[in-house]
């Protein structure tokens, strides 16, 4: 307690003042946002900016620097340095968001308060929950939270990504890198395969006789034809992707022995990247916003929780119909939710939401591919209405341009999230 208070410093005092409920009609209505990632940061920034001070926006986020998962694979491959993935919250604070660096420990939806880990309650008129994902630690026998340093998941931003890169760099010559790819639904469908590409790129340079084995829990995966073509072309003989029809699935992991047992064979790893099955960030479950799937059902047009109209759920934690769990999607959803929440709190105009997603992946130097879609809110879900995907056999100039586009997008979305 002592350390947390001093760590929080001035913000803790600020948070204590937030405990007083906002009396509607007298004070400004308050929006509390839990989680300052792709969904939450965008939501906080847009409401603070567009409401022009008419809404008191509080963002609760424990970390002082957000390290994006997007482009973390490029860091692994050596195309980006680590610092370039980090983003601070100064721009949001300047933009009128009250940023509280703390963890939300609980939500009382009847009283409309959020309990901070450091103690105080914050009252809200509207709440946005955007905590990203947590892992189902019971999904792979033998692998638990205590093993995440021996076999990193690197599926949340920050130090895990650094750890995996360090392990790959230190791998013995000719060593074996084993990845266990997660079952659906998980964040960033093409992400594991972009990671394989980037690991292969790195290893081709520093450890060319190394092998990569992907033990998948799925029969097929996002952009499969594009990745398969790219692996054969750029990293011949290095990557083996094994679907459950061959392995009969992962049976158990022996972390001490660095082995993965499948129904078919036992695989010995020098470096293992284990990406477990996923669910909404813990606080969503604690707040009673999840269903049996572990994720949160929402109202398609507004991203309101299907269980509580005072709450919006954004990004990976939400069941967003046909939209994949991506930073692009979370950012897109946040804008629809920001518009809806402003309309509710201040009576501003509402327009039909526009949902879209584009996910770029880098396969090798200047070899970028993309997939994208548009979505519409129907009565029961967010439904895909149109889509595109890069084609196999595209020429090098187009692939290079697609990669350059992704650099433009990274600069655009991070500016859009953090100001």
């Amino acid at each position: 307690m002592q350390t947390r208070r001093s760590f929080l410093g001035a913000t803790a005092a600020g948070a204590a003042a937030l405990a007083a409920p906002a009396a509607i009609g007298q004070a400004r209505p308050r929006l509390v946002v839990i989680g300052g990632g792709a969904g939450g940061a965008t939501m906080a920034r847009y409401v603070a900016r567009d409401a022009g001070g008419a809404v008191d926006v509080v963002l609760i986020e424990p970390t002082r620097t957000y390290y994006t998962c997007f482009f973390s694979n490029l860091y692994l491959g050596g195309f980006r340095d680590y610092d370039s993935l980090g983003h601070g919250y100064g721009g949001l604070a300047t933009g009128g968001v009250n940023v509280v660096h703390d963890t939300a420990a609980g939500v009382d939806r009847d009283a409309r308060t959020v309990r901070l880990a450091s103690g105080p309650d914050i009252a809200y008129d509207a709440l946005a929950v955007a905590p990203g994902i947590d892992f189902r630690w019971d999904s792979l026998p033998g692998y638990g939270v205590e093993h995440q340093n021996a076999m990193p998941h690197a599926w949340k931003g920050g130090s895990q990504t650094q750890l995996l890169k360090a392990q790959l760099e230190a791998m013995r010559p000719g060593g074996v890198f084993v990845m266990i790819a997660p079952p659906n639904p998980y964040r960033c469908p093409p992400g594991p395969y972009e990671r394989v590409s980037m690991a292969a790129h790195l290893l081709t340079q520093i450890n060319p006789t190394a092998k990569i084995i992907v033990l998948d829990t799925k029969k097929s995966f996002s952009k499969q034809a594009l990745f398969s073509e790219g692996w054969a072309q750029h990293y011949p003989g290095m990557v083996d992707w094994l679907p459950p029809s061959i392995t009969e699935g992962v049976q158990r992991i022996d972390v001490a022995a660095m082995t993965v047992e499948t129904g078919f064979d036992s695989f010995k790893a020098d470096v293992a990247n284990v990406i477990p099955a996923q669910k909404a960030g813990r606080i969503a479950e604690a707040a009673g916003l999840t269903d049996d799937s572990g994720f949160c059902p929402i109202v398609p047009a507004t991203m309101q929780s299907a269980l509580d109209e005072n709450v919006h759920v954004l990004g990976d934690a939400a069941i967003a119909g046909d939209m994949p769990k991506s930073g692009f999607s979370a950012n897109s959803q946040a804008k629809a939710a920001a518009m809806a929440v402003r309309a509710r709190l201040t009576g501003s105009r509402v327009f039909p939401p526009r949902y879209s997603n584009t996910c770029w992946s880098l396969i090798a130097t200047d070899d970028g591919v993309k997939v994208g879609a548009r979505y519409e809110a129907t009565g029961e879900k967010i439904a895909s209405v149109d889509s595109f995907i890069s084609q196999t056999g595209e020429d090098a100039a187009l692939r290079k341009q697609t990669y350059e586009e992704s650099l433009g997008w990274y600069a655009g979305i991070t500016a859009d999230m953090f100001g």
Binding site: N331, S356, G372, A373, R374, D386, L398, E405, L407, G412
Partner: protein
């Protein structure tokens, strides 16, 4: 801002009736509008512009030995191919199809004249049988009627939030071009180009496909004035 000066003038009118059969002989005479910069036929070489032999079915910026503009190279890499439709759009208003093209030609307004010119050029392409016999009747450039749709700035602001995920709001270009501070007519012409799939980028085609004329007009108004707001300190 020289590039913007002449654009509004060159917006083509929608074709009222199907064009009559194209006349390559009249097209040969009209090629005088191009011949100051382009050669075609036996022994044609690059001049100010690239030679135009075999242009039908070719990727934009597809010839060796000629230095194209960055935007033409980008369009070619995106997949812009010279077809009757894309050539028609380019000749009607070069910058509506390829924003910063180096071809400083103000555009040929009359669709019938363009059809004649293309019929002439077609004779110098290796596989003329791949080209549909009917002359282009569609009007790919911005119909004049649209230029008057008043943009709603509020609506534009909401719609614009979708764009700034990729296009930086402050107008910087880190791999995706700036769209702030454009004259509205040029902006509308570019979006209509994507919507009609004359401009090739898939991501932009997808975005533009569901933008109605009113949305495009609102966006044009919003981004035209956006750059004039003082940058945040």
């Amino acid at each position: 801002m020289l590039r913007y000066g002449v654009l509004a003038l060159s917006l083509a009118l929608p074709a009222a009736a199907p064009a009559p059969a194209a006349d390559p002989e009249r097209g040969a005479a009209l090629f005088s509008e191009c011949s100051g910069c382009h050669m075609v036929g036996d022994g044609a070489r690059h001049r100010v512009g690239p030679h135009l032999n075999g242009v039908f079915g070719r990727r934009a910026a597809g010839l060796d030995g000629y230095t194209y503009s960055k935007d033409m190279i980008r369009a070619g890499a995106d997949g812009l191919e010279w077809t009757p439709e894309t050539l028609d759009a380019y000749i009607a208003n070069p910058r509506a199809l390829v924003t910063r093209t180096r071809m400083s030609y103000r555009g040929m307004k009359d669709p019938a004249e363009r059809a004649d010119l293309l019929a002439f050029l077609r004779g110098y392409s290796a596989s003329p049988r791949d080209i549909p016999e009917a002359p282009p009747t569609a009007e790919p450039t911005l119909p004049a009627a649209l230029a008057g749709v008043a943009g709603d700035r509020d609506y534009g602001e909401y719609l614009a939030s979708e764009c700034v995920t990729c296009h930086q709001a402050d107008g910087s270009d880190a791999g995706i071009p700036s769209i702030v501070g454009w004259p509205e007519e040029d902006f509308k012409a570019a979006l209509h180009g994507y919507r009609a799939k004359l401009r090739a980028n898939q991501a932009m085609q997808l975005i533009a496909a569901t933008l109605g004329d009113e949305e495009i007009a609102s966006l044009a108004t919003f981004f035209a004035t956006h750059a004039q707001q003082p940058a945040a300190p």
